[in-house]
C-alpha cells in the first residue's frame, strides 16, 4: 500500500477500474476477458501479497499456495466486492484470513511435535545498532539470521498484533489502512502496534539469553 496510499491515486483508480471490468465481464459470461483483466490485478498485487503471506507463514511454498488461494477466492467472490473499498484492502483481508487459517491448521498438525529451540547467537540491543553500511556477504548473512530471528519472534505475537505490525511496518500501511483491513479503529491499531513492538523486543531479548 505504500505505493497507493492516497485515496484516488492512479494505482488505486486502476485497480477499481480493473475490478469493475472483471465484474461486468463475469456477469455477462465473458470469462476469458474477465480472466485477462484479472491478471492485471494479480500482477500488480502478487509481490506484496507473497511478501505478506511469507511473513505470516515463514514458508515460501506455503506462501505461494496461500497467495494462489487468495487470488482465486477473490476472483470467485468479486461480485461481493464494493468499489468504495480499495481492492488491495479487500484482497489483503482475504489473504490474511487465509494465512491465519493455515497457521491454525499447521498448529493443529504440529501439536505433538516439539519445537526446535532457538539457535545460539546474540541480538544486540537496539541502542547499539547503527544504520546498515553496505550489503557485504557477511552483512547479508547476518541480515538473514536476524530476519529468521525476527520471524520466529513475530510468529509468537497474537494474531492482531502481528497483523498490525506487519502491515504497518513491513508494508508501510497507515493506521487508517490497517484499520480498514483489520476492522479496528486507528487508535486501536496504534495500541496494537506499540504492544507488538514491545513484545517483539522482549522476545528477541529472551532469545539472546
Amino acid at each position: 500500500m505504500a505505493g497507493a496510499k492516497a485515496a484516488g491515486s492512479p494505482a488505486r483508480e486502476a485497480d477499481g477500474a480493473a475490478a469493475s471490468a472483471v465484474k461486468s465481464a463475469q456477469a455477462e459470461g465473458r470469462h476469458a476477458e474477465a480472466r485477462e483483466r484479472y491478471a492485471e490485478l494479480v500482477g500488480r498485487h502478487q509481490r506484496r501479497a507473497s511478501r505478506i503471506a511469507f511473513h505470516y507463514l515463514r514458508d515460501a511454498a506455503e506462501a505461494d499456495e496461500a497467495v494462489q488461494d487468495g487470488f482465486v477466492k477473490a476472483y470467485s467472490h468479486l461480485q461481493t466486492f464494493r468499489e468504495e473499498l480499495p481492492f488491495e484492502v479487500w484482497f489483503t483481508r482475504i489473504l490474511i484470513n487465509g494465512c491465519l487459517d493455515r497457521i491454525k491448521a499447521r498448529t493443529r498438525r504440529e501439536r505433538w511435535i516439539t519445537s526446535m529451540p532457538d539457535g545460539p547467537g546474540g541480538e544486540r540491543d537496539f541502542a547499539e545498532r547503527t544504520a546498515g553500511h553496505g550489503p557485504s556477504p557477511e552483512d547479508q548473512l547476518l541480515a538473514k539470521e536476524r530476519g529468521r530471528r525476527v520471524g520466529r519472534a513475530l510468529a509468537k505475537l497474537p494474531d492482531r498484533q502481528r497483523t498490525v505490525f506487519m502491515l504497518s511496518h513491513y508494508e508501510g500501511c497507515s493506521s487508517r489502512e490497517v484499520g480498514a483491513i483489520t476492522g479496528l479503529n486507528e487508535s486501536t491499531v496504534r495500541v496494537h502496534l506499540f504492544r507488538a513492538i514491545r513484545k517483539l523486543r522482549v522476545l528477541l531479548n529472551e532469545a539472546n539469553l
Binding site: 511478501r51 511469507f54 505461494d64 541502542a127 545498532r129 504497518s168 511496518h169 496504534r190 506499540f194 514491545r198
Partner: protein, 211 residues
C-alpha cells in the same frame, strides 16, 4: 492511544516510552524532525540518540524482511505463480463433468406403476396355474414314459417289481449266482441239522419255478 511515559533515573525516557513515541508519530518509522512528541525528547540529546537508534533498528528489521522476501519471490517465481492462478481460474470456470450413475427412480424400477402391476398379476397367475397343473398331472409318470429316470434313487439296487423290470439281464444272472453261492455256503455241515435244511425252501427251486 495513551503511551506509558515512564522515566529512567535522571528523567530519561525508557525503551517502552521511546517505542510509544515512535508508533504515535504520523508516519511510524520516521526519525523525529524538530519538535518531538515528548518535550524531554526534544531537549535531551541522550534520549534523542537512543530514539534514533530505536528507529534505525526498526528500519533494519523492515529492510531485512523486505530483502528476505525479495530473494525468495523472484520475478520467475512470481510469473510461475501467476500462471498457476490463471490455470486454476480457468479450471474453476470450466463446467464440471458429471459422471452418469445408473438411474434408480423412487419406485426402484424404471417401469410405470400400471406395468408393474400387470407383471405382478401375470407372475401370480403363472404360479397358480403351475400349482394346479402339478396337482392334476403326475409329472413323474410322464418322465418315465419318455425314458427319463423319475428320480436319482434308481441307481441304488431295488428289490421291488418295478425295479426288477429295469435291471439288466447280466445283473439278474449275477444275482442268482450270488444267491446260490450263499445257499451252498449256508448248507449245514453237521448231519443233525440236515433235516432242518431239507425243510427250508431253496433259492434254486424258486429260480427254476420262475423260469
Amino acid at each position: 492511544m495513551k503511551p506509558i511515559f515512564s522515566r529512567l533515573a535522571g528523567g530519561h525516557l525508557d525503551d517502552a516510552t521511546l517505542a510509544a513515541i515512535w508508533t504515535s508519530t504520523p508516519a511510524a518509522g520516521a526519525t523525529l524532525s524538530g519538535g518531538a512528541a515528548d518535550p524531554h525528547l526534544a531537549s535531551c540529546g541522550e534520549c534523542r540518540v537512543r530514539y534514533d537508534a530505536f528507529a534505525s533498528w526498526m528500519e533494519e528489521i523492515r529492510a531485512d524482511a523486505r530483502m528476505e522476501a525479495a530473494e525468495i519471490f523472484t520475478p520467475e517465481r512470481l510469473a510461475a505463480q501467476q500462471a498457476v492462478i490463471s490455470r486454476r481460474l480457468e479450471a474453476a470456470e470450466r463446467p464440471a463433468r458429471v459422471i452418469a450413475f445408473p438411474k434408480f427412480p423412487a419406485g426402484g424400477s424404471g417401469r410405470s406403476a400400471p406395468v408393474r402391476r400387470w407383471i405382478a398379476a401375470a407372475a401370480a397367475a403363472g404360479l397358480l396355474v403351475g400349482v394346479g397343473l402339478g396337482s392334476i398331472m403326475d409329472l413323474r409318470h410322464v418322465a418315465e414314459r419318455r425314458g427319463f429316470p423319475a428320480t436319482r434313487t434308481v441307481q441304488q439296487p431295488r428289490v421291488d417289481a418295478t425295479a426288477r423290470a429295469v435291471v439288466p439281464a447280466s445283473a439278474v444272472v449275477s444275482e442268482e449266482l450270488l444267491l446260490l453261492e450263499l445257499e451252498a455256503a449256508a448248507t449245514p455241515q453237521y448231519e443233525a441239522l440236515r433235516a432242518y435244511e431239507r425243510l427250508t425252501p431253496r433259492a434254486a427251486d424258486f429260480l427254476q419255478s420262475s423260469r
